[in-house]
């Protein structure tokens, strides 16, 4: 229909604008005007407008259930609720690429209007590098993943959206995640431009920090939303499975966090310039690499998109072109203006950030190697192995305690050279942490020694960051808030992991089951019909030994298009713990299989991530790094 045509030709227009932008910017680069030509900003805005028009046309086609559009046909259905028709636009391969284009073009436009005090040639080069990425994606979309393919004869009904994807958290997870993930493109382009102009300096660090922060905040929230979705929707009560798609979003987050800390050193001391450039390049490269791994079909995962090796080849070549290009620019243009600048005194804030980099790069290597090693092994020796959660846990856990301790100490250090002040309060915190941990864990866990060390370190970090945040005079509030949030996150995850309990059993209506001082009573079954599914709801009452009753109502849903059966967990959340109940049919039986979990401090995991982001947010309005 008309929307289809408008959408398609808007994409073509956007591509043409890219080419035109490149031509105009090269001309502007070479002329002697002191300022960037306003034409470039106008053209960038027009490019963004066309991408927006194209995106909106696709959304419109989804809303109207226009099945003459192949993407709509493959991913929607007339009975889908409106909200999920709209979010279905980006819940598929072609639509999510439209999100890529949207964020790419949006960010370069925003960059141009927010960087007016920056040197002209630097801004133009950033625009050029970003346009290279944008052209690549336009070509990818138009050549292999066109969202506006025409179907004839027009089908009467669509193939439907996977019901597991019909969830509010998952609806907003891609846009927010992409703002971070794809937004790191601007850091990539700006860093290459700065290297080419020998502009890696304190001033540039100050300027680029905003962009790193914005990208980092959105990426953190995006990952959190993905975990929340996995927790609420997938029914196994976990929120992180070290699945390739999850790893692929975590890796840029690790480099981005390291980059954030290096920018501080750059801003303050003009050092770690090569680290900053390499991390900027690596972050976006990992984003692209992730796109390749997830969309090409090379990996098997819970939520890969529709797989197509032709697309894989395109992205692979695109990815390596960007890698070679960026490395080329780096090696040709990078000048280390201050050879000794990276020789830090061992007891200083700079060196603690170096130690932070060291650990983060180790964690990155664990995740990266774990994710891609099976591919290498399969190609080289045709052996297929799995690399699952135990691998990541075993390699990361032993390094967590030292990491947390270094963090606690590092936060206290001053620039250039430092003494550790308040040694007494630190020692007291350490002793309290160990004793507290020992008494908490004494009766709970078998691995007492290991967990005591780990949780004491977490408590130590928690106490020292709490003191910074609540007792000090808000000296550097964003740093205090962010690290406090991080320490809370680690504590919540650790205690949640150790104290969680679960039971699986078969039960029929009217029966009671006793578990851990609680009584589970299967009260009744209720049947319900919604617009696109029928459901069986189990009503359960959980009574604890103090007589308090909690109602849990898990569902079994039968969707109509496509025909899929899902279990919807019911979760009751309190500040102290989550109660989690999933129900499944036992074939040929009046019994139902239930899995009941008690998960302490679940809510604190999400709260602490938000505190972490708040810390980042508080850093944006700051003009210069304070203390």
């Amino acid at each position: 229909m008309l929307a289809n045509q408008i959408g398609y030709y808007s994409l073509i227009a956007g591509l043409l604008f890219s080419v035109y932008l490149c031509v105009v910017s090269i001309k502007d680069f070479n002329n002697t005007n002191r300022n960037v030509s306003p034409n470039l900003i106008t053209l960038s805005f027009l490019q963004l407008t066309f991408v927006v028009i194209s995106f909106l046309s696709l959304i419109l086609s989804f809303i109207n259930s226009d099945f003459s559009n192949e993407t709509v046909f493959n991913n929607s259905h007339t009975t889908k609720p409106l909200f999920y028709k709209i979010s279905g636009t980006w819940g598929n391969h072609e639509g999510s690429l439209m999100l890529w284009l949207l964020v790419l073009t949006l960010f370069i436009f925003l960059f141009l209007i927010k960087s007016r005090e920056q040197p002209k040639k630097y801004r133009i080069l950033t625009l050029l590098f970003q346009q290279l990425i944008i052209i690549g994606f336009f070509l990818f979309v138009l050549m292999t993943s066109n969202p506006f393919n025409y179907l004839f004869p027009i089908p009467l009904e669509g193939l439907g959206l996977n019901p597991i994807l019909q969830d509010p958290a998952l609806a907003i997870h891609p846009p927010l995640l992409y703002l971070g993930y794809v937004g790191s493109s601007i850091i990539f382009s700006a860093s290459l431009a700065a290297v080419a102009q020998n502009y890696i300096s304190k001033e540039w660090g100050q300027h680029i920090k905003k962009w790193v922060l914005i990208s980092w905040i959105f990426l953190t929230i995006g990952i959190m939303l993905g975990s929340i979705w996995a927790y609420y929707e997938l029914g196994w009560g976990g929120f992180w499975f070290w699945d390739p798609v999850e790893n692929v979003s975590l890796m840029p987050w690790l480099t981005l966090t390291a980059l954030l800390h290096c920018i501080l050193v750059l801003e303050r001391r003009g050092a770690l310039t090569s680290w900053v450039v390499i991390l900027s390049i690596t972050t976006f490269t990992l984003s692209m690499c992730g796109t390749f791994l997830v969309r090409s079909g090379i990996l098997n995962s819970v939520h890969t998109f529709a797989n197509d090796p032709a697309r894989g080849i395109f992205i692979l070549i695109f990815l390596f072109t960007l890698i070679f290009l960026s490395l080329g620019v780096f090696f040709l243009f990078y000048k280390d203006n201050n050879k000794d600048s990276n020789n830090f005194f061992w007891l200083s804030k700079e060196s603690s950030i170096l130690v932070n980099n060291w650990f983060m790069m180790y964690f990155l290597s664990v995740v990266l190697i774990g994710t891609v090693y099976p591919i290498f092994l399969d190609v080289i020796s045709a052996e297929k192995i799995s690399v699952g959660p135990p691998f990541y846990q075993k390699l990361i856990a032993p390094f967590l305690a030292p990491f947390l301790l270094f963090m606690a100490f590092g936060l206290k250090l001053k620039w250039i050279k430092s003494k550790i002040e308040n040694k007494n309060s630190l020692i007291i915190f350490l002793i309290i942490s160990v004793i507290l941990t020992f008494f908490i864990l004494k009766n709970i866990t078998t691995d007492l020694f290991f967990y005591t060390i780990l949780i004491s370190a977490a408590f130590f970090l928690f106490f020292s960051t709490s003191k910074e945040l609540f007792l000090k005079k808000f000296n550097n509030i964003s740093q205090a808030v962010a690290h406090f949030g991080f320490s809370l996150l680690i504590l919540s995850i650790l205690f949640n992991g150790i104290l969680s309990s679960e039971i699986t059993t078969n039960i029929k209506v009217g029966e009671k089951y006793n578990y851990n001082n609680e009584e589970i009573f299967f009260e009744k079954i209720e049947e319900k019909n919604e617009s696109n599914f029928n459901s069986i709801i189990g009503h359960f009452k959980i009574t604890n030994d103090k007589g308090k009753v909690v109602e849990l109502n898990p569902e079994i849903r039968v969707y109509n298009q496509p025909i899929i059966i899902t279990s919807e967990a019911d979760i009751k959340t309190t500040l102290l713990e989550d109660k989690f109940l999933v129900m499944n049919i036992v074939k040929g039986n009046e019994y139902f299989n239930i899995r009941y979990q008690v998960k302490p401090f679940m809510l604190w995991i999400w709260i602490s991530v938000l505190i972490l982001c708040l810390g980042g947010l508080l850093s944006i309005p700051k003009k210069k790094y304070e203390k």
């Binding site: 079909g297 090379i298 797989n307 692979l316 390596f320 090696f331 290498f376 190609v379 080289i380």
Partner: protein, 173 residues
């Protein structure tokens, strides 16, 4: 020049990665088990379909013959498709077919056999699916070819088709 050396090493490493990923695209990302490794026949006890008594695996694979173990169920649609081919194969004197009735209802399984014929010299009941696991199967239909030395030499996942029959025929000559 130290930095030139680093550059060359990085360059070679990246080319290596590119080639690995490129070749990796051709490989299927779902598990396709290696079909051609010799495996030992598992030792087990299973209930016979007709006599309802337990039989030891030693007493099933008695003769120096080729054997086929075919995992099937009445509720499995592709099993219906492959059944005529199994009937034809059972006419071959050098091979004996053993059926493994997987997670099935006895009445329905009986109906299936009466409708489509019985190519099996023996049928074993696998009500909970554990016997199939002993063979390394993970679904229906699956078929295993066992040679004269009592080793599993081939595994076919999914319904049998004409080319698989041809392959089996060449082996058992």
């Amino acid at each position: 020049m130290k930095s030139k050396l680093i550059l060359i090493i990085i360059f070679i490493f990246l080319i290596f990665c590119f080639l690995i990923f490129y070749k990796g695209l051709d490989k299927p990302n779902t598990y396709t088990p290696k079909n051609n490794i010799e495996k030992n026949l598992p030792i087990f006890k299973a209930k016979d379909f007709y006599s309802n008594t337990y039989i030891n695996s030693k007493n099933i694979f008695t003769e120096e013959n080729y054997y086929i173990v075919n995992v099937w169920a009445s509720w499995c649609v592709p099993c219906r498709k492959e059944h005529p081919l199994l009937m034809k194969l059972s006419k071959n004197k050098t091979i004996k077919l053993i059926g493994l009735n997987y997670r099935d209802n006895l009445k329905n399984a009986n109906k299936f056999i009466n409708e489509l014929g019985n190519p099996y010299t023996q049928i074993l009941i696998d009500k909970d699916g554990t016997l199939a696991v002993e063979f390394g199967a993970y679904g229906v239909p699956e078929t295993f070819l066992i040679d004269r030395n009592k080793k599993i030499i081939r595994k076919f996942v999914g319904p049998i088709n004409k080319s698989i029959i041809e392959e089996i025929k060449t082996i058992i000559k």
